[in-house]
Symmetry: D2
Subunit: 337 residues, 4 copies
């Protein structure tokens, strides 16, 4: 009964079938196949605007490549101090940019605010002796499982645009955010000022491909060579493209996110007084003493302690394919504490 991470999730049958289906074809290598050729169009349809889409093998690669496309080696990236790019990607942005700097901004519940950015910016100078920012990175849903509304994204993007910064979004759980908001994917991205999106699939029923999306084609110009040069361009590109198409063309991405979000709500409803952060996507941060955590683990539940949120905090992540009886069991076990 594993609530450690949605990386433990299985692959949706539609994705497995799509992979098997393209194996029999013998198209040209790299991206010169029909499935790769369809990516731009499929994502453009989904977002209602021209999109340049690239398959990449991980969320780390998507974020770092996307930021390398808009941040020079001598530039900086404003981001939340708990952002995945800071905490869990081993300095990938530094590697892909050969030396750019993450400029960390603290704020509650994993969500950046204009006020927090203003305060951070006020402590820096604009001269040649300091690293100058080139981008703002937002995480949607955030590392705290919260979700930015379209207005919140638009306000933050406006702040960035007024300073000449590009806006990149780490959407490892973008599907969960959209499922929560009930808006169109456009509303919370390009219509709200987002330029580049890491559109996460792997945690949400995919296998080994994420989509890196550009709403501004000028920023994508260097992407093909950067992707190739980093060893991220698959020689059998059809297997990656087919996975992404299977996720979005049949609506699997949203269906799966609704499933995991819904399960998170079921659990949250059982223990509303234990929620350290509002539950909006598929993650729960709960107040649990060490003894309570021991009790749950003794019953077979696994999950992470979450010291970033204090000594009595634990994180539960719900998968799209989490079994209903396991969800019910966790809710019951929490209620019984």
């Amino acid at each position: 009964m594993d609530f450690n991470s949605d990386n433990a999730a299985g692959v949706h049958p539609a994705v497995l079938e799509a992979v098997a289906a393209v194996s029999g074809a013998h198209p040209r290598g790299y991206d010169a196949d029909d499935w790769s050729a369809r990516l731009d169009g499929a994502f453009s349809t989904l977002f209602g605007t021209p999109v340049r889409a690239f398959a990449v093998p991980s969320g780390t690669a998507a974020n770092a490549l996307g930021l390398a496309a808009c941040v020079p080696t001598y530039g900086g990236v404003w981001c939340h101090n708990e952002a995945h790019i800071e905490v869990d990607e081993a300095g990938a942005v530094g590697f892909y940019t050969a030396g750019a700097t993450l400029m960390l901004v603290p704020s509650p519940n994993g969500k950046l605010t204009v006020e927090a950015l203003d305060a951070a910016a006020a402590r820096r100078r604009g001269d040649v002796h300091q690293v100058q920012p080139a981008a703002l990175s937002l995480t949607q849903a955030t590392e705290a499982g919260t979700v930015y509304t379209p207005d919140e994204v638009a306000n933050l993007s406006g702040w960035a645009k007024a300073r000449g910064l590009a806006v990149q979004m780490d959407g490892a759980r973008f599907a969960n955010a959209v499922a929560h908001l009930g808006c169109s994917p456009a509303d919370v991205t390009w219509k709200a000022g987002v330029d580049i999106l890491s559109f996460g699939c792997i945690k949400n029923g995919g296998m080994s491909a994420e989509a890196l999306l550009f709403f501004r084609p000028d920023l994508a110009e260097s992407l093909p060579v950067r992707r190739k040069r980093a060893g991220l361009m698959p020689s059998k590109g059809r297997f990656a493209a087919a996975q992404l198409l299977a996720m979005i063309e049949g609506g699997v991405w949203l269906e799966n996110a609704r499933a995991s979000n819904g399960a998170a709500q079921t659990i949250a409803a059982a223990v509303p007084d234990r929620l350290l952060v509002p539950v909006q996507a598929n993650e729960l941060f709960l107040r649990l003493t060490p003894a309570e955590r021991d009790t749950l683990r003794a019953q077979g539940f696994s999950f992470y302690d979450w010291e970033l949120s204090g000594p009595d905090a634990a994180r539960f992540v719900v998968r799209w394919d989490q079994e209903p009886q396991v969800i019910a069991a966790l809710a019951a076990a929490l209620r019984a504490l």
Copy 2:
């Protein structure tokens, strides 16, 4: 009737089945699953020596990461001037090392020799004003479809070791080389002085995972963080590991290479007088005039002109799953020219 590239090959059923089989499991993410845990052991068994094995998504990534592990940012890599790392990987070694230099050595039939290396080395100085080499990169089978014997590899490695250089092997078609030699994989790698091997699977029946192997554990020390940092560590590592295990644990890698090598010999036997280079793996370089090439293409065969080998040269690559009737058809068509 495509002979452009083995990247057009399908995925072997054993690989597809392995991928489907691990989808139902829900192990920890990244490499904390049973399949990833089995990689080192499986490759150690195959090579008869302790091996550190890492799944990576492309041959370019395997080569560049492997070289980054043994070449400092200020170092150089001796390689053939037609090596894939020079000609077809978009400068990936430069990216992964943040600035190392490929030091190009010309020699016939794609194969480096001690004499060619000596001649190149004699034109360089050992002082601080010149880039100093840190590694020798060999390609097995070579870009010309030729194969180094164990003795040849040992001689080249000996030259490198005497100069303190690491020895890396680009084995995008390593299986074809071993199939040709009829030796054990150990004979032509660590027993012959190879330290790092890009063990190619994708062209040979794999889907989206190559194996990067270290026969010297000291060189592998930085690999986990380099791989993570480059976005090459899959969050659902089991899907990559399962592909590699399916390739090697049942002997698929060697069986497939024998098939494509054998088909190449069938074609070669039809036109022995047209061979520009001895056929040893699954590639043929044939003397064909423009008119002859037109004739073949009009019959539905596709392949690349190969200007590196002169104006009357063409390259044919045979896939592991190339249909017997297509092979026979090409042999017949060539004979009929």
Copy 3:
């Protein structure tokens, strides 16, 4: 009456004479001259231990090169959150390492403590998903004009060594620190666990050369090529070496530092109640309202507001060649406020 920065200082006559003296010689280029050859020995004598010494053209270059010698591209550097390498060197460490991360630690008065480092380290994990530290960087004297005692340095170095980290010291104002402590330069460097020292000369009477010193020869191995490759190896090396020798062989470095430290004490003694930080080197951080600052500026004094220390703070830096009457004038003006 400028108290903005010691970069406005003149060059000591001994340095100018040394530069003129070597112009007539016509030795080999780069470092193959007698003056460059004497550097290691002269600094070894000064520090009482074998030292590898390199002339570099700026403190930024000294710090970044020194850290690049001990921090891999995927590594991190613990440093104070107001350290010059973070605040005023434009991300040079990121450039020289092609992507390493500064890991910022806040603590009072510009001085790191073991407690502050422990607290910062407790918030990080040791796994492959996070950047792992490889060095500790100390600033001596600190950006707040305070000075670490030998015991304090030893404690911090001990903390670092217990974790396998190298210890680098930014000594842009190292002479001022030694002048304040009255100890030998050895006591507060290698005897206290420091591995690498940026030995500042330029602010303290030099012209265009700083010394980068290694107390551990193993860490210096890559330095010659890194220095050359960065364009920091002068083709007429004798002009840089002669400057450094003139600073240290006649004791100019310590004499000048005593002069600027003494002047700072004179000013401090005039307004003990305005000191925001203890005055130990040649910098003063004073509590001054905007109106008071206006008054001083109207009298012809120039200095920086220092918002890092609050709204009512100003920084005064005293030069080695600051005129006595200007020092007296500032003391009087401050007293009169």
Copy 4:
């Protein structure tokens, strides 16, 4: 009697005086002084067009920074295979660009030609799998001591511009080239399509500053931060700026180059039949057997064997301040062989 290198040259008295003169001033640090502020104007006057000028401490730094300003990390630089950036700068371009590639072009007498470039370009493809060039680098005077005419530079620049490439010139001995041509510095630079120039001073009577010049202000935009970040921005900028101003404002640069060029002609005239390459600047490449070289060295002359030009070749470099009697002695000794 040293003819090894012009790096052994002394510093012109005007430069030493200028350095001493600025020591007494106490301006703001970095480039906020009157001398630094005058650089752009002085070079604009010299070249008859708006120029952005930056003082840097070495020719290696000038070349690498200049190329980093116009070549992305994934780009390439066409250059002669004996260019200093390839042969003698330890891979500095790779370091400054974090991975760009030098694309080597062989041709006689150190001079690139459109034909040689066409031949090299014909062997490359324009796709994402190959490094794509972003700049052409010319050396003036060349490593073989030859000089491009304005028409030759214009033809090469035209070739580059037609392909969207920037044109950078390594002018370590630019003064010698202009002295030979008798043209204006404008004629052989921006009027002939050059965008960026490393204007060499150090070999030609300077001390520790070279000038990096941009004729296209758009290319210079990132230069201030790149220079700072590399540790190349001096904290006492006036000392570097004053050196450059002393070289150009009084015509010292051209006067010195005429002296060394003239001396080279004197020597060449003594042994016209021994010249392996036409003598146009201050370098001579002479046919000399090992026995002849021994004879000269026994007489006290020092110079380099030059194996790049064959087994019987030696290089003599003449300094601006080479003593007339030494020049006469060498001419006589050569004649006497």
